[in-house]
Symmetry: C2
DNA sequence: GCCTAAGTGTACGGTACCGCACACTTGTTT
DNA sequence: AAACAAGTGTGCGGTACCGTACACTTAGGC
Protein backbone atom coordinates (compact mmCIF):
# COMPACT_ATOMS: atom_id res chain seq x y z
CA UNK A 1 0.00 0.00 0.00
CA UNK A 2 2.15 2.85 -1.34
CA UNK A 3 1.63 6.43 -0.33
CA UNK A 4 -0.90 8.19 -2.52
CA UNK A 5 0.25 10.75 -5.06
CA UNK A 6 -1.57 14.00 -4.56
CA UNK A 7 -2.19 14.35 -8.28
CA UNK A 8 -4.20 11.14 -8.23
CA UNK A 9 -6.31 12.00 -5.22
CA UNK A 10 -9.92 12.83 -6.02
CA UNK A 11 -10.90 14.15 -2.63
CA UNK A 12 -11.11 17.88 -3.10
CA UNK A 13 -9.78 18.86 0.30
CA UNK A 14 -6.70 16.70 -0.03
CA UNK A 15 -6.24 17.83 -3.61
CA UNK A 16 -6.40 21.49 -2.63
CA UNK A 17 -3.63 21.27 -0.04
CA UNK A 18 -0.16 22.69 -0.59
CA UNK A 19 2.22 19.85 -1.38
CA UNK A 20 4.01 20.28 1.93
CA UNK A 21 0.86 19.86 3.96
CA UNK A 22 -0.30 16.94 1.87
CA UNK A 23 2.96 15.20 2.64
CA UNK A 24 2.29 15.59 6.34
CA UNK A 25 -0.77 13.40 5.92
CA UNK A 26 0.31 11.12 3.10
CA UNK A 27 2.26 8.69 5.24
CA UNK A 28 -0.88 7.82 7.18
CA UNK A 29 -3.42 7.85 4.39
CA UNK A 30 -4.71 4.41 3.52
CA UNK A 31 -7.03 3.90 0.62
CA UNK A 32 -9.97 1.66 1.42
CA UNK A 33 -12.99 0.43 -0.45
CA UNK A 34 -16.35 1.26 1.02
CA UNK A 35 -18.96 -1.43 0.78
CA UNK A 36 -22.58 -0.61 0.25
CA UNK A 37 -24.14 -0.16 3.68
CA UNK A 38 -20.81 -0.05 5.50
CA UNK A 39 -20.85 1.95 8.72
CA UNK A 40 -17.85 4.22 9.32
CA UNK A 41 -18.82 5.74 12.64
CA UNK A 42 -21.44 4.55 15.06
CA UNK A 43 -23.36 7.17 17.02
CA UNK A 44 -21.73 7.74 20.39
CA UNK A 45 -18.55 5.83 19.63
CA UNK A 46 -15.08 7.34 19.69
CA UNK A 47 -13.90 8.68 16.37
CA UNK A 48 -10.78 6.64 15.72
CA UNK A 49 -10.52 7.28 12.01
CA UNK A 50 -11.61 9.96 9.62
CA UNK A 51 -12.44 9.30 5.97
CA UNK A 52 -11.62 11.56 3.04
CA UNK A 53 -14.18 10.41 0.52
CA UNK A 54 -12.87 9.57 -2.94
CA UNK A 55 -15.93 8.20 -4.67
CA UNK A 56 -19.50 7.40 -3.82
CA UNK A 57 -21.12 9.23 -0.96
CA UNK A 58 -21.68 8.88 2.72
CA UNK A 59 -24.75 9.68 4.78
CA UNK A 60 -24.56 11.32 8.18
CA UNK A 61 -27.53 10.16 10.23
CA UNK A 62 -29.03 11.23 13.50
CA UNK A 63 -30.30 8.20 15.37
CA UNK A 64 -33.31 8.74 17.60
CA UNK A 65 -33.78 6.73 20.75
CA UNK A 66 -36.39 4.52 19.12
CA UNK A 67 -33.64 3.49 16.73
CA UNK A 68 -35.01 5.27 13.70
CA UNK A 69 -32.26 7.00 11.76
CA UNK A 70 -32.71 10.18 9.78
CA UNK A 71 -30.28 11.76 7.41
CA UNK A 72 -28.87 15.13 8.35
CA UNK A 73 -26.25 15.48 5.63
CA UNK A 74 -24.46 13.92 2.69
CA UNK A 75 -20.70 13.72 2.31
CA UNK A 76 -18.98 13.22 -1.02
CA UNK A 77 -15.53 13.80 -2.48
CA UNK A 78 -15.75 17.40 -1.28
CA UNK A 79 -15.66 16.32 2.33
CA UNK A 80 -14.57 14.24 5.26
CA UNK A 81 -16.49 11.93 7.53
CA UNK A 82 -15.51 12.40 11.15
CA UNK A 83 -14.39 15.98 10.69
CA UNK A 84 -15.88 17.04 14.02
CA UNK A 85 -12.67 15.98 15.72
CA UNK A 86 -11.13 19.24 14.50
CA UNK A 87 -13.73 20.98 16.66
CA UNK A 88 -12.51 19.07 19.66
CA UNK A 89 -15.13 16.35 19.66
CA UNK A 90 -13.94 12.89 20.59
CA UNK A 91 -17.10 10.89 19.92
CA UNK A 92 -19.43 10.89 16.97
CA UNK A 93 -22.85 12.42 17.38
CA UNK A 94 -24.03 11.09 14.07
CA UNK A 95 -23.81 7.73 12.42
CA UNK A 96 -21.95 7.76 9.12
CA UNK A 97 -22.49 5.08 6.55
CA UNK A 98 -21.80 4.50 2.91
CA UNK A 99 -24.92 4.35 0.74
CA UNK A 100 -23.33 3.48 -2.54
CA UNK A 101 -20.11 1.64 -2.38
CA UNK A 102 -17.07 3.73 -3.15
CA UNK A 103 -13.65 4.57 -1.85
CA UNK A 104 -11.99 6.79 0.70
CA UNK A 105 -8.66 7.61 2.25
CA UNK A 106 -8.68 6.62 5.86
CA UNK A 107 -6.61 8.59 8.35
CA UNK A 108 -6.26 8.07 12.11
CA UNK A 109 -8.01 10.83 14.00
CA UNK A 110 -4.91 11.53 16.05
CA UNK A 111 -2.90 12.00 12.87
CA UNK A 112 -5.37 14.56 11.62
CA UNK A 113 -5.41 16.42 14.91
CA UNK A 114 -1.64 16.53 14.96
CA UNK A 115 -1.42 17.70 11.36
CA UNK A 116 -4.04 20.40 11.84
CA UNK A 117 -1.87 22.03 14.50
CA UNK A 118 0.93 22.60 11.99
CA UNK A 119 -0.89 22.86 8.67
CA UNK A 120 -2.78 26.13 8.45
CA UNK A 121 -4.23 25.52 4.99
CA UNK A 122 -5.54 22.14 6.02
CA UNK A 123 -7.03 23.61 9.16
CA UNK A 124 -8.71 26.46 7.33
CA UNK A 125 -10.10 24.17 4.66
CA UNK A 126 -11.48 21.76 7.20
CA UNK A 127 -13.09 24.54 9.21
CA UNK A 128 -14.67 25.98 6.11
CA UNK A 129 -15.94 22.54 5.26
CA UNK A 130 -17.41 22.27 8.75
CA UNK A 131 -19.19 25.53 8.13
CA UNK A 132 -20.67 24.47 4.81
CA UNK A 133 -21.71 21.12 6.18
CA UNK A 134 -23.41 22.98 9.00
CA UNK A 135 -25.33 25.03 6.48
CA UNK A 136 -26.44 21.81 4.85
CA UNK A 137 -27.71 20.48 8.16
CA UNK A 138 -29.48 23.72 9.01
CA UNK A 139 -31.18 23.87 5.65
CA UNK A 140 -32.25 20.27 6.12
CA UNK A 141 -33.88 21.20 9.41
CA UNK A 142 -35.93 23.88 7.71
CA UNK A 143 -36.63 21.66 4.72
CA UNK A 144 -37.91 18.82 6.88
CA UNK A 145 -40.38 21.17 8.50
CA UNK A 146 -41.61 23.00 5.45
CA UNK A 147 -41.28 21.11 2.20
CA UNK A 148 -43.22 18.27 0.74
CA UNK A 149 -41.77 14.92 0.02
CA UNK A 150 -41.77 15.34 -3.75
CA UNK A 151 -39.47 18.33 -3.46
CA UNK A 152 -37.32 16.74 -0.82
CA UNK A 153 -36.91 13.60 -2.86
CA UNK A 154 -35.79 15.61 -5.88
CA UNK A 155 -33.37 17.57 -3.71
CA UNK A 156 -31.91 14.40 -2.31
CA UNK A 157 -31.46 12.79 -5.71
CA UNK A 158 -29.68 15.88 -6.97
CA UNK A 159 -27.36 15.86 -3.99
CA UNK A 160 -26.64 12.19 -4.48
CA UNK A 161 -26.04 12.74 -8.17
CA UNK A 162 -23.62 15.60 -7.50
CA UNK A 163 -21.61 13.57 -5.05
CA UNK A 164 -21.50 10.29 -6.84
CA UNK A 165 -20.99 11.87 -10.24
CA UNK A 166 -22.96 9.12 -11.93
CA UNK A 167 -26.49 9.30 -13.25
CA UNK A 168 -27.35 5.73 -12.32
CA UNK A 169 -27.54 5.07 -8.62
CA UNK A 170 -28.06 1.82 -6.78
CA UNK A 171 -30.78 2.91 -4.40
CA UNK A 172 -33.96 1.29 -3.22
CA UNK A 173 -37.04 3.25 -2.25
CA UNK A 174 -36.69 1.60 1.10
CA UNK A 175 -33.33 3.21 1.71
CA UNK A 176 -34.45 6.61 0.48
CA UNK A 177 -37.47 6.46 2.74
CA UNK A 178 -35.24 5.91 5.76
CA UNK A 179 -32.98 8.79 4.77
CA UNK A 180 -35.90 11.15 4.38
CA UNK A 181 -37.77 9.87 7.40
CA UNK A 182 -40.96 8.85 5.63
CA UNK A 183 -42.79 5.63 4.69
CA UNK A 184 -41.51 3.63 1.81
CA UNK A 185 -44.91 3.77 0.20
CA UNK A 186 -44.81 7.56 0.32
CA UNK A 187 -41.53 7.51 -1.57
CA UNK A 188 -43.08 5.15 -4.07
CA UNK A 189 -45.80 7.64 -4.92
CA UNK A 190 -43.41 10.60 -5.16
CA UNK A 191 -40.91 8.64 -7.21
CA UNK A 192 -43.46 7.40 -9.70
CA UNK A 193 -44.65 10.97 -10.15
CA UNK A 194 -41.10 11.95 -11.06
CA UNK A 195 -40.88 8.95 -13.35
CA UNK A 196 -44.11 9.77 -15.11
CA UNK A 197 -42.78 13.30 -15.60
CA UNK A 198 -39.78 11.75 -17.31
CA UNK A 199 -37.08 13.16 -15.06
CA UNK A 200 -36.00 9.86 -13.54
CA UNK A 201 -36.38 6.20 -14.31
CA UNK A 202 -35.89 3.29 -12.00
CA UNK A 203 -36.37 -0.39 -11.62
CA UNK A 204 -35.48 -2.74 -8.87
CA UNK A 205 -32.96 -0.74 -6.91
CA UNK A 206 -31.51 1.20 -9.81
CA UNK A 207 -32.41 4.86 -10.24
CA UNK A 208 -31.35 6.77 -13.34
CA UNK A 209 -31.48 10.54 -13.58
CA UNK A 210 -32.64 11.39 -17.07
CA UNK A 211 -33.47 15.08 -16.93
CA UNK A 212 -31.36 16.95 -14.45
CA UNK A 213 -32.90 20.32 -15.14
CA UNK A 214 -36.33 18.85 -14.67
CA UNK A 215 -35.21 17.42 -11.38
CA UNK A 216 -33.89 20.81 -10.30
CA UNK A 217 -37.26 22.33 -11.07
CA UNK A 218 -38.97 19.67 -9.02
CA UNK A 219 -36.69 20.25 -6.03
CA UNK A 220 -37.14 22.88 -3.37
CA UNK A 221 -34.87 25.89 -3.07
CA UNK A 222 -32.88 24.05 -0.42
CA UNK A 223 -30.88 22.29 -3.09
CA UNK A 224 -29.66 25.47 -4.70
CA UNK A 225 -29.06 27.27 -1.40
CA UNK A 226 -26.72 24.58 -0.16
CA UNK A 227 -25.17 23.99 -3.58
CA UNK A 228 -24.16 27.64 -3.67
CA UNK A 229 -22.37 27.33 -0.35
CA UNK A 230 -20.47 24.29 -1.58
CA UNK A 231 -19.44 26.14 -4.73
CA UNK A 232 -17.86 28.80 -2.55
CA UNK A 233 -15.96 26.23 -0.54
CA UNK A 234 -13.20 25.69 -3.09
CA UNK A 235 -13.37 29.11 -4.65
CA UNK A 236 -15.86 30.17 -7.25
CA UNK A 237 -16.53 27.60 -9.93
CA UNK A 238 -17.83 28.45 -13.38
CA UNK A 239 -21.50 29.46 -13.31
CA UNK A 240 -22.53 26.16 -14.80
CA UNK A 241 -20.60 23.00 -14.20
CA UNK A 242 -21.10 19.67 -15.89
CA UNK A 243 -23.21 17.48 -13.60
CA UNK A 244 -20.53 14.92 -12.94
CA UNK A 245 -18.16 17.67 -11.81
CA UNK A 246 -20.53 19.48 -9.53
CA UNK A 247 -20.03 19.28 -5.82
CA UNK A 248 -23.20 20.56 -4.43
CA UNK A 249 -26.08 20.49 -2.04
CA UNK B 1 -18.24 52.44 29.12
CA UNK B 2 -15.50 50.85 31.22
CA UNK B 3 -13.94 47.51 30.36
CA UNK B 4 -15.86 44.62 31.83
CA UNK B 5 -14.43 42.74 34.79
CA UNK B 6 -14.25 39.05 34.01
CA UNK B 7 -15.69 38.18 37.40
CA UNK B 8 -18.87 40.00 36.52
CA UNK B 9 -19.33 38.49 33.10
CA UNK B 10 -22.16 36.00 32.87
CA UNK B 11 -21.36 34.63 29.43
CA UNK B 12 -19.90 31.24 30.10
CA UNK B 13 -17.34 31.28 27.34
CA UNK B 14 -15.89 34.60 28.38
CA UNK B 15 -16.02 33.56 32.02
CA UNK B 16 -14.14 30.36 31.30
CA UNK B 17 -11.19 32.06 29.63
CA UNK B 18 -7.80 32.41 31.29
CA UNK B 19 -7.40 35.99 32.51
CA UNK B 20 -4.75 36.69 29.94
CA UNK B 21 -6.96 35.72 27.05
CA UNK B 22 -9.91 37.57 28.47
CA UNK B 23 -7.81 40.71 28.57
CA UNK B 24 -7.09 40.33 24.87
CA UNK B 25 -10.79 40.76 24.21
CA UNK B 26 -11.82 43.06 27.04
CA UNK B 27 -10.74 46.29 25.38
CA UNK B 28 -13.17 45.69 22.54
CA UNK B 29 -16.09 44.25 24.46
CA UNK B 30 -19.05 46.58 24.65
CA UNK B 31 -22.07 45.71 26.70
CA UNK B 32 -25.33 46.36 24.91
CA UNK B 33 -28.97 45.85 25.72
CA UNK B 34 -30.93 43.61 23.39
CA UNK B 35 -34.44 44.73 22.66
CA UNK B 36 -37.23 42.23 22.17
CA UNK B 37 -37.28 41.37 18.50
CA UNK B 38 -33.94 43.00 17.71
CA UNK B 39 -32.07 41.47 14.79
CA UNK B 40 -28.34 40.95 15.27
CA UNK B 41 -27.45 39.40 11.93
CA UNK B 42 -29.48 39.39 8.78
CA UNK B 43 -29.26 36.32 6.53
CA UNK B 44 -26.65 36.86 3.84
CA UNK B 45 -25.14 40.00 5.37
CA UNK B 46 -21.53 40.31 6.44
CA UNK B 47 -20.87 39.46 10.04
CA UNK B 48 -19.43 42.68 11.42
CA UNK B 49 -20.01 41.95 15.07
CA UNK B 50 -20.35 38.90 17.24
CA UNK B 51 -22.41 38.82 20.42
CA UNK B 52 -21.53 36.99 23.62
CA UNK B 53 -24.94 36.59 25.20
CA UNK B 54 -25.25 37.70 28.82
CA UNK B 55 -28.96 37.31 29.47
CA UNK B 56 -32.05 36.38 27.55
CA UNK B 57 -31.69 34.22 24.49
CA UNK B 58 -31.26 34.55 20.78
CA UNK B 59 -32.81 32.53 17.98
CA UNK B 60 -30.89 31.46 14.93
CA UNK B 61 -33.29 31.21 12.01
CA UNK B 62 -33.07 29.82 8.52
CA UNK B 63 -35.02 32.02 6.14
CA UNK B 64 -36.60 30.28 3.18
CA UNK B 65 -37.03 32.05 -0.12
CA UNK B 66 -40.71 32.63 0.51
CA UNK B 67 -39.63 34.66 3.51
CA UNK B 68 -40.81 32.21 6.13
CA UNK B 69 -38.27 31.85 8.91
CA UNK B 70 -37.71 28.71 10.93
CA UNK B 71 -35.63 28.29 14.02
CA UNK B 72 -32.58 26.08 13.78
CA UNK B 73 -31.04 26.82 17.17
CA UNK B 74 -31.16 28.81 20.39
CA UNK B 75 -28.25 30.73 21.83
CA UNK B 76 -28.02 31.73 25.48
CA UNK B 77 -25.33 32.75 27.91
CA UNK B 78 -23.43 29.59 26.99
CA UNK B 79 -22.82 30.85 23.48
CA UNK B 80 -22.04 33.41 20.84
CA UNK B 81 -24.08 34.72 17.95
CA UNK B 82 -21.96 35.03 14.82
CA UNK B 83 -19.47 32.38 15.85
CA UNK B 84 -19.23 31.01 12.32
CA UNK B 85 -16.56 33.60 11.57
CA UNK B 86 -14.11 31.38 13.43
CA UNK B 87 -14.81 28.78 10.74
CA UNK B 88 -13.81 31.27 8.09
CA UNK B 89 -17.29 32.41 7.11
CA UNK B 90 -17.68 36.07 6.31
CA UNK B 91 -21.43 36.27 5.89
CA UNK B 92 -24.24 34.94 8.01
CA UNK B 93 -26.23 32.00 6.74
CA UNK B 94 -28.82 32.37 9.46
CA UNK B 95 -30.71 35.28 10.83
CA UNK B 96 -30.13 35.88 14.52
CA UNK B 97 -32.60 37.79 16.62
CA UNK B 98 -33.38 38.34 20.24
CA UNK B 99 -36.65 36.83 21.39
CA UNK B 100 -36.72 38.09 24.91
CA UNK B 101 -34.86 41.25 25.55
CA UNK B 102 -31.59 40.82 27.36
CA UNK B 103 -27.96 41.79 27.17
CA UNK B 104 -24.78 40.83 25.39
CA UNK B 105 -21.17 41.81 24.94
CA UNK B 106 -20.59 42.95 21.43
CA UNK B 107 -17.22 42.39 19.81
CA UNK B 108 -16.07 43.31 16.30
CA UNK B 109 -15.66 40.18 14.18
CA UNK B 110 -12.14 41.22 13.21
CA UNK B 111 -11.18 41.51 16.86
CA UNK B 112 -12.40 37.99 17.52
CA UNK B 113 -10.57 36.60 14.51
CA UNK B 114 -7.38 38.30 15.58
CA UNK B 115 -7.70 37.09 19.15
CA UNK B 116 -8.45 33.51 18.13
CA UNK B 117 -5.11 33.32 16.37
CA UNK B 118 -3.25 33.97 19.62
CA UNK B 119 -5.60 32.62 22.27
CA UNK B 120 -5.68 28.83 22.18
CA UNK B 121 -8.19 28.41 25.00
CA UNK B 122 -10.57 30.84 23.37
CA UNK B 123 -10.20 29.08 20.05
CA UNK B 124 -10.77 25.64 21.53
CA UNK B 125 -13.79 26.79 23.49
CA UNK B 126 -15.34 28.45 20.47
CA UNK B 127 -14.76 25.40 18.31
CA UNK B 128 -16.30 23.14 20.89
CA UNK B 129 -19.24 25.49 21.07
CA UNK B 130 -19.57 25.30 17.30
CA UNK B 131 -19.68 21.54 17.62
CA UNK B 132 -22.39 21.51 20.26
CA UNK B 133 -24.43 24.07 18.41
CA UNK B 134 -24.14 21.83 15.36
CA UNK B 135 -25.49 18.93 17.37
CA UNK B 136 -28.42 21.11 18.34
CA UNK B 137 -29.14 21.93 14.71
CA UNK B 138 -28.80 18.31 13.62
CA UNK B 139 -31.14 17.12 16.35
CA UNK B 140 -33.60 19.80 15.32
CA UNK B 141 -33.54 18.47 11.77
CA UNK B 142 -34.47 15.02 12.99
CA UNK B 143 -36.98 16.39 15.48
CA UNK B 144 -38.76 18.44 12.82
CA UNK B 145 -39.22 15.34 10.73
CA UNK B 146 -40.27 12.91 13.42
CA UNK B 147 -41.83 14.46 16.47
CA UNK B 148 -45.22 15.93 17.07
CA UNK B 149 -45.82 19.51 17.94
CA UNK B 150 -46.73 18.84 21.56
CA UNK B 151 -43.33 17.34 22.19
CA UNK B 152 -41.52 19.95 20.18
CA UNK B 153 -43.27 22.75 22.02
CA UNK B 154 -42.27 21.28 25.37
CA UNK B 155 -38.71 20.88 24.16
CA UNK B 156 -38.58 24.47 23.00
CA UNK B 157 -39.98 25.83 26.25
CA UNK B 158 -37.39 23.86 28.22
CA UNK B 159 -34.61 25.20 26.04
CA UNK B 160 -35.90 28.73 26.44
CA UNK B 161 -36.21 28.24 30.18
CA UNK B 162 -32.66 26.95 30.48
CA UNK B 163 -31.23 29.87 28.57
CA UNK B 164 -33.23 32.67 30.05
CA UNK B 165 -33.05 31.26 33.57
CA UNK B 166 -36.50 32.61 34.40
CA UNK B 167 -39.72 30.65 34.64
CA UNK B 168 -41.86 33.44 33.25
CA UNK B 169 -41.25 34.23 29.61
CA UNK B 170 -42.69 36.96 27.45
CA UNK B 171 -43.72 34.91 24.48
CA UNK B 172 -46.78 34.89 22.30
CA UNK B 173 -48.14 31.80 20.64
CA UNK B 174 -47.64 33.67 17.41
CA UNK B 175 -43.91 33.90 17.94
CA UNK B 176 -43.56 30.30 19.02
CA UNK B 177 -45.50 29.18 15.97
CA UNK B 178 -43.02 30.94 13.71
CA UNK B 179 -40.05 29.41 15.53
CA UNK B 180 -41.48 25.92 15.22
CA UNK B 181 -42.74 26.39 11.69
CA UNK B 182 -46.41 25.64 12.36
CA UNK B 183 -49.72 27.54 12.49
CA UNK B 184 -50.46 29.67 15.47
CA UNK B 185 -53.69 27.79 16.02
CA UNK B 186 -51.76 24.53 16.21
CA UNK B 187 -49.61 25.98 18.98
CA UNK B 188 -52.76 27.12 20.72
CA UNK B 189 -54.07 23.57 20.92
CA UNK B 190 -50.76 22.09 22.09
CA UNK B 191 -50.23 24.85 24.63
CA UNK B 192 -53.66 24.52 26.14
CA UNK B 193 -53.07 20.80 26.50
CA UNK B 194 -49.93 21.55 28.49
CA UNK B 195 -51.83 24.11 30.51
CA UNK B 196 -54.66 21.72 31.29
CA UNK B 197 -52.01 19.22 32.41
CA UNK B 198 -50.77 21.88 34.81
CA UNK B 199 -47.19 22.10 33.54
CA UNK B 200 -47.41 25.63 32.18
CA UNK B 201 -49.71 28.60 32.52
CA UNK B 202 -50.01 31.56 30.25
CA UNK B 203 -52.05 34.58 29.47
CA UNK B 204 -51.62 37.27 26.93
CA UNK B 205 -48.01 36.87 25.96
CA UNK B 206 -46.72 35.63 29.28
CA UNK B 207 -45.86 31.97 29.71
CA UNK B 208 -44.97 30.55 33.10
CA UNK B 209 -43.37 27.19 33.59
CA UNK B 210 -44.94 25.59 36.63
CA UNK B 211 -43.84 21.99 36.55
CA UNK B 212 -40.46 21.54 34.93
CA UNK B 213 -40.35 17.81 35.40
CA UNK B 214 -43.75 17.51 33.84
CA UNK B 215 -42.53 19.54 30.92
CA UNK B 216 -39.51 17.28 30.53
CA UNK B 217 -41.81 14.30 30.39
CA UNK B 218 -43.89 15.97 27.72
CA UNK B 219 -40.84 16.77 25.60
CA UNK B 220 -39.19 14.46 23.11
CA UNK B 221 -35.80 12.93 23.72
CA UNK B 222 -34.24 15.69 21.66
CA UNK B 223 -34.20 17.97 24.65
CA UNK B 224 -32.15 15.65 26.77
CA UNK B 225 -29.85 14.61 23.95
CA UNK B 226 -28.81 18.16 23.25
CA UNK B 227 -28.79 19.16 26.90
CA UNK B 228 -26.26 16.44 27.56
CA UNK B 229 -23.95 17.81 24.90
CA UNK B 230 -24.16 21.27 26.41
CA UNK B 231 -23.36 19.91 29.84
CA UNK B 232 -20.16 18.49 28.43
CA UNK B 233 -19.22 21.79 26.88
CA UNK B 234 -17.91 23.38 30.07
CA UNK B 235 -16.90 20.19 31.76
CA UNK B 236 -19.20 17.84 33.59
CA UNK B 237 -21.79 19.56 35.74
CA UNK B 238 -23.48 17.87 38.68
CA UNK B 239 -25.99 15.24 37.60
CA UNK B 240 -28.85 17.51 38.46
CA UNK B 241 -28.56 21.27 38.28
CA UNK B 242 -31.06 23.81 39.50
CA UNK B 243 -33.20 24.92 36.56
CA UNK B 244 -32.01 28.51 36.54
CA UNK B 245 -28.42 27.31 36.33
CA UNK B 246 -28.84 24.78 33.58
CA UNK B 247 -27.43 25.54 30.18
CA UNK B 248 -29.03 23.02 27.99
CA UNK B 249 -30.70 22.01 24.81
C1' DG C 1 -36.99 -22.74 -16.57
C1' DC C 2 -38.44 -22.42 -11.71
C1' DC C 3 -38.24 -20.65 -7.18
C1' DT C 4 -37.41 -17.17 -4.04
C1' DA C 5 -36.16 -12.76 -2.22
C1' DA C 6 -36.07 -8.17 -3.12
C1' DG C 7 -38.22 -4.28 -4.78
C1' DT C 8 -42.40 -1.72 -6.14
C1' DG C 9 -47.55 -0.18 -6.73
C1' DT C 10 -51.62 0.49 -4.52
C1' DA C 11 -55.36 0.75 -1.31
C1' DC C 12 -57.65 2.50 2.79
C1' DG C 13 -58.88 4.16 7.29
C1' DG C 14 -56.67 7.27 10.52
C1' DT C 15 -54.31 11.50 12.17
C1' DA C 16 -51.63 15.77 12.44
C1' DC C 17 -51.45 19.76 10.69
C1' DC C 18 -52.85 23.30 7.10
C1' DG C 19 -55.42 27.41 5.78
C1' DC C 20 -58.62 30.32 7.00
C1' DA C 21 -62.09 32.47 9.51
C1' DC C 22 -64.29 34.39 13.40
C1' DA C 23 -65.45 35.17 18.10
C1' DC C 24 -63.83 35.94 22.48
C1' DT C 25 -60.66 37.71 26.19
C1' DT C 26 -57.15 40.60 28.13
C1' DG C 27 -54.31 44.48 28.55
C1' DT C 28 -53.38 49.24 27.03
C1' DT C 29 -54.39 53.76 25.53
C1' DT C 30 -56.90 57.98 25.79
C1' DA D 1 -65.18 54.33 30.90
C1' DA D 2 -64.70 53.58 26.26
C1' DA D 3 -62.09 52.17 22.40
C1' DC D 4 -58.75 49.46 20.56
C1' DA D 5 -55.00 46.26 19.69
C1' DA D 6 -53.01 42.18 20.94
C1' DG D 7 -53.44 37.62 22.15
C1' DT D 8 -56.09 33.29 22.37
C1' DG D 9 -59.79 29.44 21.53
C1' DT D 10 -62.26 27.12 18.30
C1' DG D 11 -64.32 25.33 14.17
C1' DC D 12 -64.16 23.11 9.69
C1' DG D 13 -63.04 21.42 5.18
C1' DG D 14 -58.77 19.97 3.01
C1' DT D 15 -54.33 17.52 2.44
C1' DA D 16 -50.00 15.06 3.27
C1' DC D 17 -48.46 11.52 5.27
C1' DC D 18 -48.98 7.50 8.60
C1' DG D 19 -49.55 2.56 9.44
C1' DT D 20 -50.46 -1.47 7.55
C1' DA D 21 -51.55 -4.77 4.36
C1' DC D 22 -51.34 -7.20 0.14
C1' DA D 23 -50.57 -8.10 -4.63
C1' DC D 24 -47.54 -7.69 -8.24
C1' DT D 25 -42.96 -7.46 -10.76
C1' DT D 26 -38.12 -8.08 -11.37
C1' DA D 27 -33.57 -10.04 -10.60
C1' DG D 28 -30.75 -13.69 -9.37
C1' DG D 29 -29.69 -18.51 -7.70
C1' DC D 30 -30.39 -23.26 -8.51
Amino acid sequence: MAQPLQAQVKNRILAALPALEFEMLARNLVHIDLALGETLHRAGDRIEQVYFVESGFISALAVLSDGSPLEIGLIGAEGVAGVSIVLGATTSFSETMCQTGGGAYRLPAVALKAAVAHAPHLRDLLLRYVYVFGVQVAQTAACNAHHELGQRLARWLLAAHDRSGVAELSLTQDLIAIMLGVRRSTVSVAASTLQRAGVIRYQHGRITIIDRVGLENAACECYETVAGEYRNLFGEGPPHIAPAEVVAD
